[in-house]
Symmetry: D2
Subunit: 354 residues, 4 copies
């Protein structure tokens, strides 16, 4: 099948929601051909066994092959494997020198194996490669990603909160305790049914889980420190809400009163001017419906009145947790490591209404 596409890709761990979104984007990619999908589930079945939207769209099947075999002959592999499993597969992939790797798991985001063990409750399966992975937030590390062979693509809460706070970090305004609430849709819990995603209850519920102890906080802190934050103590409360896709994050902090609405609006607009996938809406604040189904992120600022020389400043971020907060960003990273147009297969602004 001569597709005229220049690059070849395989997805490893393709039967989850992240896999489905990566496969979807690859199937319509102008320059990258999806050659195969490896999985331990649905072996021998068509991809539509996991993603019914792929019925009659592709002839590919899930292949029960080892990662090295899946990666053979590829320009890039995209890992949709669970935490710790991903890292355990990296050595055999690293042994194939021509293959670039974009990993959606959390395994190579923290740079410190001890921190990994503390937060993921597991000894790091591949600490030797920690230094080789570039953290795949293009808005922070675009040039490093372009020349990387290994990319650790960040997940939904991390991406959303980092994008909401990055301009403050760069401006030297991010310091000390910051309170953050992140509200998430149910697809963030993945493809396996559980009590927390059981429709009869989820459809009418709002609840927190793991408040103040979420495992992605260290990654966010490390990333924002790299951008200029000082002594950042992020206090994060996630909340599950009854929608399928999307995250809205709100960060609260106190700034000196000279940081007015206008000034912070300008700071944010300038910070993201030219960014292909981050926008600061002109007349409204970020909302999930506007980014649902697309690779866009929205960020924005609301500022309170001054009191004794200080103001409360709230920063908002919105993403689709499976696209810019997941597989879309992995594709964006893939485009960068392959030297392609960063927006290839990601330009769709998404449906309205969602």
């Amino acid at each position: 099948m001569a597709t005229g596409k220049r690059f070849k890709a395989a997805v490893i761990g393709g039967s989850g929601y992240g896999g489905a979104e990566m496969i979807r984007r690859l199937l319509v990619h102008p320059d990258v051909e999806l050659v195969r999908v490896a999985s331990i589930d649905f072996v021998g079945e068509p991809l539509s066994a996991a993603d019914p939207a792929l019925e009659a769209v592709t002839d590919l099947t899930f292949e029960g092959i080892p990662p090295a075999q899946a990666a053979a002959g590829m320009d890039v592999v995209l890992l949709g494997l669970p935490h710790t499993v991903a890292a355990s597969k990296v050595p055999e992939l690293a042994a194939l020198p021509g293959v670039k790797v974009v990993d959606m798991s959390g395994d190579f985001r923290l740079k410190d194996a001890a921190a990994y063990e503390r937060w993921y409750k597991h000894v790091h399966p591949c600490p030797d490669r920690l230094a080789d992975f570039v953290y795949g937030l293009p808005e922070l590390n675009r040039e490093r990603i372009r020349s990387a062979r290994f990319v650790a693509s960040p997940g939904c809460f991390a991406t959303t909160i980092e994008l909401a706070l990055l301009p403050l970090a760069r401006a030297g305004l991010l310091e000390g305790v910051v309170h953050v609430q992140g509200i998430t849709g149910s697809s963030g819990s993945g493809v396996a049914p559980s009590a927390g995603t059981h429709h009869p209850v989820r459809a009418g519920n709002l609840k927190t889980y793991k408040p103040l102890e979420h495992q992605h906080v260290p990654e966010i802190t490390e990333t924002l420190a790299a951008a200029g934050a000082r002594d950042l103590a992020l206090r994060f409360v996630p909340v599950s809400a009854p929608l399928s896709r999307g995250i809205l994050a709100t960060a609260f902090l106190e700034l000196p009163e000279q940081w007015t609405q206008d000034r912070l609006d300008r700071l944010y607009r300038e910070a993201y001017a030219g960014e292909p996938f981050v926008r600061v809406p002109r007349k409204r604040l970020p909302e999930v419906a506007a980014v649902s189904g697309s690779n866009y992120a929205e960020v924005g600022v609301a500022v309170g009145s001054a009191l004794r020389g200080r103001r409360t400043v709230t920063l908002f971020g919105a993403t689709d947790n499976l696209v810019k907060g997941g597989a879309g960003q992995a594709i964006q990273n893939m485009n960068l490591v392959l030297g392609l147009d960063e927006k290839a297969s990601l330009a769709d602004p998404g449906p309205w209404p969602p």
Copy 2:
């Protein structure tokens, strides 16, 4: 129709969601008879014109009569009128000495006519009566409500946030800036369709509105100050979410490190021991599904690790915005002013799943 019920009630302004919930509770009330419902909408039509769940349940119709006429011969009237309209009707009701009044609007919650004008953008229509109204949060003012003739029953965000913070205020721990996020269902927007409650968009959206400038903040601040808060500066960000009923509020503040999880749990359990409608769940944090459809509120605490002598403490509150955060609380106040069992018609624990 001899019902054997001891008291007579009228609802004035009964065609909205607050009216529907008050009517429902009155129809099953063991001691109070709902005699009539006044409204400027649906005049002459059965109550089921506004609330289809009342089809064939009652013979009452909406009557297009003035408040004084609706209140004649009643022991109590419940006001479900919009802000400013409610206050404009109070003088004629006050002229009927035997009639007690429970008002669901915001008109008599603030004690200061100037503050009212600033936040509600309207001159107060009846400032002379401000001092006569007791703020109807039974957990704060039960005895004063019992002996009151006029009660200003608080609304959904105020009730939820106040209950979440009341024990801290009483313990002298509530001071300075507190960050609060409140996530709300669509029924809080009332019965009139609007862009913000249009199902195609709302069903997949999370968005903030009026961040840091919500009109109910002064009422909350005043109430918590009355309970012991000092210099409280509440920074409140409301978020709309895709469910019909329920509010989840999260408050973030910093406390000295001796305020551990155990100690705050104990403080909260003791504060609400014996309260008929506020509970501190034993093994989980507050969630909307647990209180949806009932007059119960849930509150809870999550505490972070200590850093330089301080800890982040998060307080959670959950209510059904139309019941404990609205009409249910109005009925609770009615029970108190009539000297009835506070739980009468409100004991139903609510459906599971919601």
Copy 3:
């Protein structure tokens, strides 16, 4: 604990959604005391372990005791057990002569053990008692239920479709092939998470399952035959929809053209005049929101224009699958067998909006 309640009840199999709704109704019942709840799950834990809405509402715990022990000293037991398990427990309950039994399972609805085996794929565990159970549809069998010791309370699709078609059956108009679509909320699938109730997919899906071969069709056919239907061939297609509670059923059939809208409206109104829980809305057709959370059922008729002497007639039914289509009806049956007011603990018209 002297409750002043005249009767004692136990729930056996109380940890599912049917159990939760029965427990809720019993807790607010004026005449029946819920003494204990038996379950093989959550043994020793408070009832709120299964139903968070019961937190702090009752001191009862789930007891891991055999049915006979649970039933000892009771006036009535309510069975919330799965199919085949319920029937296997009936012999030991039958041995306690003073105890009446209301069963929510399908085990005693069909009167023929061979039919049971064909549809439930299981030999009937207790065929000797089939004749002792009365089918618990009060609108058909009220007097027989009043004098029964054993009641087989029908489920959600059966109740909704039977109520929609009963007046036609009685009028001798129900004959031959009838097409029926029943659309159901997710709570009908019970408390166990599964792919079909996984929120990310369910929230945006409409799909059929088991079309034309649903196991409750024989029960419906048998019931309607008992009411006068002849050679009824019900062709039933269930559809799952993204709401938690409620069923809407539509039946299509062809009638002679003299069966106009007016005439059928009259037939339906007369058929259900005086029924406490079935209503024919005056100005609209049945809808789920109007009955959600309550024990009411709505039925209605829409008639097409005549063509060659025939008209298409559509019959609609709406219930809350867990109340009138489940536990509420079980309580209604319990009230009947105990000689109580049929509406006791069931009069609540339900919330608006749902």
Copy 4:
């Protein structure tokens, strides 16, 4: 702006949901440039005023210009105007000979002005052009559309039901009374908030509207007659359900018993073999989640057991009402009239989960 795109298009009436979906597809179209969007709403504002997902995606604004001016210099115009308004604009568009027209309204679908007046309650504004429009169902009229200048693109219920029944019509099996239920998401009601799309009620409701008298039935009947149906009497009951996007239609009819599941499966597979956007899923029946957000339609068959020589046969169809049931199909028709790849800008299989 040299885009390298070969064709130029304008959207007229672009501020509704149909407009948003057409604009989205045009923005990512490889061969057609969206030059302008005319509207009487949001004049002078960016497209994101109507569709927030377009924020920062395009510089186009809504232009308050007459249709002829919008169409000047275009290869094609796409009409997203309301019924009757669309037809009133056609004369001035017809006067521009080089411009092809794809109309999403119902104005040119019926071929008979009298039938139009009966169903749309309005005299047809442009009866002279009725004969010039080709009905834009590619699966029926592909070659005629390719050579057409004017296309009347069918809407959501019509497309879904027609695709579900087309193979039967062609096989000469569609005759007499057919019962159809169509369940629809809220986006089918358009962009204007109303009681029926008010989130608090819609989120928990299932209800019918206009049963047996929907205005799109004649269009469906006419289309299926053109494909071979005889004396078709379609009895259609629409139901609104609580999801944003998607339609599931079920048709019930009786066929001679030789029409087994296998034989009908084969008939359907053969009928749609080679169709780019219609699929017959192999191991399941059609479901909305599988087509949500994409231009795919799914159809399928379920067959009951034989009784006296007849079987009940049920046909299912699923589409996204705004894509294959709306704007996506308009784009598909545009591709055909311009001689482009029919799948251009429509190949995206859609998100999973939806």
